[in-house]
Structures are given as C-alpha cells and as structure tokens.
C-alpha cells in the first residue's frame, strides 16, 4: 500500500505544468496553511504575531503580504490565512505557544485546501466564464485577493502579478472541489477568442 502523500489532481502529478491553449495550469501541493483568528483591536496579540511572522498582518480588506516563502492573506477583519512553503522553523507551534488558546485561535488547515496556479494572457477571460466577481474591481493590483464562488464552490483568488507581468493567479480550492474546478478550467480554455 502506498502511504505517500499524494496531490489532489491526478493529471498534475509531480508538479507537472500543463499547457492548455496558452493557459498554464499547475497544482501547488503540500503547502502548510495556518488559519489565525485574533481580535485586531488587541494590539498585544497583533504585535506578538507580527514578531513571529516578521511582517505585519494585513488589515486592509482583500490584500495579502508576502515575506520570503510566507504569505499572509486577509480573510476577514479578524481572520488570516498564513501559507508557508517550507516549514523549517515550525511556525505553527510558535504561533500556538504565543497566542494559542487565549482570545485567539491558531489552526493547522494544511490538508483543507489545495492551490491551483494558472497563468497566461487570457486567464481573466477564462475566469470570467465561471465567476460572478468583477475582476477588474476586485483584483486591481498585485497582492490583492478575493473570496468568491467559482460556479457553485467557494474559492479564494490571489493575484501574483503586477500590471506589466504575465497574469498569474492562485486559486485556493477545498480539496474535494479541486477536480471539479480543474475540469471546468480545462474545458474553459477553449473558445477564449471572444
């Protein structure tokens, strides 16, 4: 029996990048994710977290900050998602020790979601087939994010590129929805010349 950790989308094994008519699709798996909830008015906790993370928690809605391999994503006024590519300093334990079980919650949600990265000139056209979101308004600049519905499933979008770069967006998907979304994206890459 193979007990190794496997990625969610079968055709995107081993960090394979698929190219569908100019849209590149890649699954970024095994990223550590921590859900952090603290009261933003409690400056003591905010400072403690910022010290561990080496950067401030973004308080501007629908933005994220990047610090090395760490991303801190605004989810709601008192909730953040922290992603960490390589967990070499045991961030989760540190956060838990610092603010743990007081008026805060630190939860490891690594296995809850997977990330699908799509890039290409026409990804906004592609996404607009499935989203009700006004992408121009809600993902206006680099380091903005938005939570919305992808057809019927909840999704978190992260804009990684600035205006003069090739568009690249990360989709945070609940694992059981990942194949559904992937199939729709592959289908949607056709007829993008409207």
């Amino acid at each position: 029996m193979n007990l190794l950790r496997e990625n969610t989308i079968k055709s995107l094994k081993n960090n394979k990048i698929e190219n569908h008519l100019g849209i590149k699709i890649q699954e970024i798996c095994f990223i550590n994710k921590i859900n952090l909830r603290i009261n933003p008015e409690n400056l003591e906790y905010m400072k403690a977290c910022s010290k561990i993370l080496n950067t401030i928690l973004p308080t501007k809605p629908n933005t994220f900050v990047k610090n090395g391999n760490l991303k801190i994503i605004w989810l709601s006024p008192d909730e953040w998602l922290i992603t960490n590519d390589i967990d070499n300093d045991n961030l989760f334990a540190k956060l838990r020790n610092e603010v743990g079980d007081l008026e805060a919650s630190v939860t490891d949600i690594s296995e809850n979601r997977t990330i699908v990265r799509i890039s290409g000139e026409k990804i906004y056209k592609l996404l607009s087939k499935f989203l009700v979101l006004d992408l121009e308004k809600n993902l206006p600049t680099k380091s903005t994010c938005a939570q919305t519905l992808f057809v019927k499933v909840p999704i978190l979008l992260l804009r990684n590129h600035s205006d003069n770069q090739l568009p690249e967006v990360d989709l945070f998907l609940i694992k059981s929805h990942a194949n559904y979304v992937y199939n729709l994206i592959v289908d949607g890459t056709e007829n993008l010349d409207f």
Binding site: S76, A146, P154
Partner: protein, 117 residues
C-alpha cells in the same frame, strides 16, 4: 440578482450572500415569564413586508461577516447598510416604488390605494 455593498469587501453579487431574516429582534429578558404565544411570537413570527424591510445579511462566501441591510423587497433597492449592533436608521417605509407601479401591498388585497381611486 442584485449587488450588495459588503462593509468590508465592497460591492459583490447577491449569490455570495445569505439573508438571515429580520433584524432588530430582541431576545426577551425573562423567557420563563412568557406565555407560549409570546415565546412563539419571538421565535417564529417575522414580518414579510412588500416594501422597506430591515434585514440581517451574511457575506457567507466572502468575509463571512454579518451586517444589517435596509432593503425594499419590492424592487431590491438597498437603502442603507450598517453594522451589527447599531440602532435602526430612521427610514420611511411608506409607499415604496414598485417596478410597474402596482399597489405595494399586493394586487389581491383591497387596500387604501384602491379605495382612494
């Protein structure tokens, strides 16, 4: 379908939200002293106005925050959005505009609107 201006995320489609029913219903301070009818009234009875209604909404597929909305249920026009815990704004609910000018309390009813004519 209409747009709702979430106090945190900005203008988003209605499908991202859930309506949580009527706002400003206060839990009675002394539930044991209430009669069954009064308790049922608190638990179940909700207004269903064709016109201006005060509602609670939740941005369930966004920031998951609750807030209050004053909405004209006949036209889906949103008159005001304000935070939880704030007192209800004084918005006049008389004679809301209806899309094709039909009477605002339902065409099947004999209303003051008909009697005037």
């Amino acid at each position: 379908m209409f747009l709702i201006n979430c106090p945190y995320c900005g203008e988003r489609e209605q499908v991202e939200f859930n309506c949580g029913g009527e706002a400003h219903i206060v839990r009675p301070k002394n539930p044991p002293d209430l009669s069954d009818d009064q308790w049922a009234d608190y638990l179940f009875m909700r207004k269903n106005i064709k016109g201006v209604q005060f509602e609670r909404w939740n941005h369930s597929n966004g920031c998951r925050r609750w807030f209050n909305v004053v909405r004209n249920t006949a036209t889906d026009e949103i008159l005001k959005i304000y935070n939880m815990g704030e007192t209800a704004p004084n918005i006049n609910g008389d004679d809301p505009k209806t899309p094709s000018g039909e009477p605002n309390i339902g065409s099947g009813n004999i209303s003051s609107t008909f009697e005037k004519k």
